[in-house]
Amino acid sequence: MSRGQAVAARPPGPTGETHRVSLLRGMTAIRLFEERCVELYSAGMIRGFLHVAIGEEAVAVGVMQPLTDDDSIVSTYREHGHAIARGVPMESVMAEMYGKVTGCSRGRGGSMHLFDVGRRFYGGNAIVGGGLPLAVGLALADKMQGRPGVTVCFFGDGAYAEGEFHECVNLAALWQLPVLFACENNLYAMGTALHRAQAETDLALRAASYGLTSWPVDGMDVLAVEKASRRAVDRIRNGGGPCFLELRTYRFRAHSMYDPDRYRDKAEIARWRERDPIDLLVRQLREDGKLLGEDLDAMTAEVTAEIDLAVASAEAAPLEPVEDLTRFVYSETKVQ
């Protein structure tokens, strides 16, 4: 999907207008896409578990900015935004959720397991913390092979409590591996508030104790996220060792479509909604007179058309033949 890629491939540099607009477009695309997913879930077109990141779009779009085709991404089950921001076509993401063979994982993965190896998007991991060791290994391979790649690993505040986090941050720091630990701190792990899961809730501070560079970022400000990500990625690429970013964000909706969201105070949600990353950027662009109402409508229309297309093609797409059930348990050819 050209646009998605455009966002992913945009060269570093000053956050000029067109760039800010493209960031807005990237976040808007994710927002509208996920809102459509919610509708389609209620309509029974998407099944299984569905986790949307509505409210967290600035993290996905901002972190992706400095990445190149050499870089790798490891994500979670809440990864639609990461995938789209990386340039995975909406069609293949939507088809995946429809369980169609045209899906980015041939319909075998679903919402939680989006993969696109061509774009070095290594999934979609639904074991909390399970992607961290993979990221360490991807980075180890890049380092041993002398490739310039940086591996970005997205994970949540909940994953921070898993033993694998401890093991992996130490491994990356010990071996000075090119890993960017992108911790999406949305203050909740399902229904468990951070302060009920961690004795010390300053995640960036604690991460620093492992001997890597670490700092917190306003995850609702896409420009701040981009700036932090660029600084971290440059540092890592130049051999500075791994970095940890605590991206302070919030999910506006429930954990999953099954979650009645009993554990959050409505006022808290409302407060965070005032910091909607899309509204923030729109307001800013408006104030600078760089965005007119019609521009926004045009963008929305364009993105909506794209999503309609993705849905239409997903609906039209075929299913994997049942006879092929046992394919891909083992490789069909040697790998080079």
Partner: protein, 331 residues
């Protein structure tokens, strides 16, 4: 306690489990429930909904995402006189705690020469059928049934959902209780005074003379459906509900096979190395000369569970595949 039936109540598997936990918390102050999101969230499958409000955060204890840590903490608390009920959201995540379950919970009693008792109950959701794909759909209860030192039970009925937990809590050793995810919404009636049940014996859920169908947990209803279909053609299948996966109730299994002379084992685990293999091997060892045909197995295809509905259905045992296996056996 299950004998006298005064009135009956409409309930679900989920509610029956909740009642069992509530009773345990009420009756024994050494009991507490610990796991991810058992409290504020209400339980990831709403089993423990309302218990936090009733019993407070000490006894309905939310944990961080630290499976190995809190499962091992349950082992330690059990050693020191508590009666923990530890919930692991799904069996898929329990692999993170397997070291604590096998190398500590199951082993400490023997390794200490009989000194360290671990009266611990661990509850987990297992199984597929909800398009949750390859990291949320597997069935490892058969794997756990390989471990000496623990007991493994799988309630397939409302009575057992209501009655097994208390009995498990009275056991001096670790008991793993597996709840199939597709059963939570199963509804029906239960005796008002439904209570404790044994967790030793396999139950005959449908008597029959022509073939023995061995199943448990989430596979029981599919197996009973198959039996109905077969009955139409005059094949009377006897359906067993294992209930206890470790120890296995050999006596009940062999008793049935020795009069039906044929057996089909239905098990949602991957076929190779599944519990069905052990049951098949035991039937052959103990009933070889009674068997008219080899024991058949109906298991899951050996694939990580796919998301797409049609593929998931094809990967799982279904009434049709059970029927087909029975026809091979009697054919």
């Amino acid at each position: 306690m299950t004998t006298a039936t005064v009135g009956t109540v409409e309930t679900t598997y989920r509610e029956a489990l909740r009642e069992a936990i509530r009773e345990a918390l009420r009756e024994d102050d050494r009991v507490f429930l610990m796991g991810e999101d058992v409290g504020m969230y209400g339980g990831c499958f709403a089993v423990s909904l309302g218990l936090l409000e009733e019993f407070g955060p000490e006894r309905v204890r939310d944990t961080p995402l630290s499976e190995s840590g809190f499962v091992g903490a349950g082992v330690g608390a059990a050693i020191a006189g508590m009666r923990p009920i530890v919930e692991i959201m799904t069996v898929n995540f329990s692999l993170l705690a397997l070291d604590q379950i096998l190398n500590n919970a199951a082993t400490l009693l023997h390794m200490s020469g009989g000194q360290v008792h671990v009266p611990l109950v661990i509850r987990m959701t297992t199984g597929a059928g909800r398009q949750l794909a390859a990291q949320h759909s597997h069935s490892f209860e058969g794997w756990y049934a390989h471990i000496p030192g623990i007991k493994v039970i799988a309630p397939a009925t409302l009575e057992d959902a209501r009655g097994m937990l208390w009995t498990a809590l009275q056991d001096p050793d670790p008991v793993l209780l597996f709840e199939h995810g597709s059963l939570y919404n199963m509804s029906g009636t239960l005796a008002e005074d439904a209570g404790h049940v044994d967790i030793q014996r396999t139950a005959v859920r449908r008597p029959g003379r022509d073939v023995t169908l061995v199943s448990y947990g989430g596979s029981l209803s599919k197996t009973l459906d198959a039996a109905e279909t077969l009955a139409v053609d005059g094949i009377e299948a006897e359906v067993l509900d294992l209930r206890s996966l470790r120890p296995l109730d050999d006596e009940a299994i062999m008793e049935s096979v020795s009069h039906t002379h044929r057996a089909v084992v239905v098990d949602e685990g991957w076929r190779s190395g599944s519990l069905s293999a052990e049951i098949s091997a035991r039937i052959t060892e103990q009933c070889f000369f009674d068997l008219d045909s080899p024991v058949e197995r109906v298991c899951s295809a050996e694939v990580p569970m796919p998301y797409a509905k049609h593929l998931e259905e094809a990967a799982l045992p279904q009434p049709e595949t059970v029927v087909a296996a029975v026809r091979r056996a009697v054919g």
